[in-house]
Amino acid sequence: MHLLIADFTLRITSELPIYMEEGYQPFLQEGEIENPDINIECLSGIPEDFQNVKTFLFEAEDRNQKFYSIFKHKDGLGFYIYDQQDINTIQQIALLDETLTNWKIFSRPLFNGTLFPLKYPMGPILMYYLTVNNEAVMMHASGIFNGKKGRLFTGFSGYGKSTMSRLWQSCGNLVINDDRLIIRKQDGGFFMHNTPMYYTDQPKKSPVSAVHLIRHASENSSKKVSGAQAVSKVLAFCIQNNFDKQFIQNHLSFMSELCSAADVYETGFLPDTDIVRYIQENDY
């Protein structure tokens, strides 16, 4: 089987039948493909010999949760993915080769004999590693398309990304996604794509014309930022595993181009639909 996510092709092979969450179903493609962007081989069981600690590279954790650890492996990168209900349990071990294109994902079979290789957070990790060498970033943002122009709204958690999506949707605009997007450079332009979530949604794509760094405020306002300020502020809301200099360089170069092609604004807003009109009148 294969998935098409953000116009990337992911070929999946498995020694057991695969269980995939409903959010992935619209991204499944029929038929065979010749040159996938990445290959994912799904294997049954967690091998004991990978439990020996290799060189530690990166820990993805925050105050509330531990998601995964990355180690240098003799053939590339090794990932320990933790069960989000029990962080002392490793739910998958994944190996990514040095070309960043071939994955092996080890997981225990479910009670019905299927494998669940993309169980969260493995799915988003795969998607993130699609971006690091492919003129793309993965971003925490809401993406809105009004039929002509695409706008990204990003900011800290609680700063209004979902509110902004709801307001634009109520005015008849298309929400690409209100949480996580992949932004790609394609055919000389920049495009945002949604990715599989825990709920069902169709694959969507839109050009990127502007980026708004949003916050709740006592009045609607918008101030353009550019250059290094724009790059650093927008990049801060991209997903980054910053243990590798080349990954960082790639993302910095991408963001520099994106912030030249799209206008970047710091936007304060009140939570009503006036902000939709305000932005449409003021960001071009």
Partner: protein
């Protein structure tokens, strides 16, 4: 902060020149630091560009007072603040 190894601070960052400014991103083993990137003002960039293998704080103070209208005390204070910021990220 160990001022005998100032140059090593540079290896903790990846930089990109955008216009006449520099963006710095820290190499990090922890996801909680991924939002801590910053841009350099003129003084910061001057210090960054003058950090070489055998640079001392005294060297930086001397170069800064030669290039900017600033006293030795002010220069040293700015330099130490900047280096501490680099070291903490």
């Amino acid at each position: 902060m160990d001022t005998s190894s100032l140059y090593l601070l540079k290896s903790k960052y990846v930089t990109k020149e955008i216009g006449d400014e520099l963006v710095l991103v820290p190499l990090s083993g922890n996801v909680s630091q991924m939002n801590e990137l910053f841009t350099m003002n003129e003084t910061g960039r001057f210090i960054w560009e003058n950090l070489s293998k055998k640079t001392t704080v005294e060297d930086l103070v001397e170069k800064m007072t030669e290039s900017f209208d600033v006293s030795e005390e002010e220069a040293e204070k700015d330099i130490l603040l900047f280096l501490e910021k680099l070291d903490k990220l």
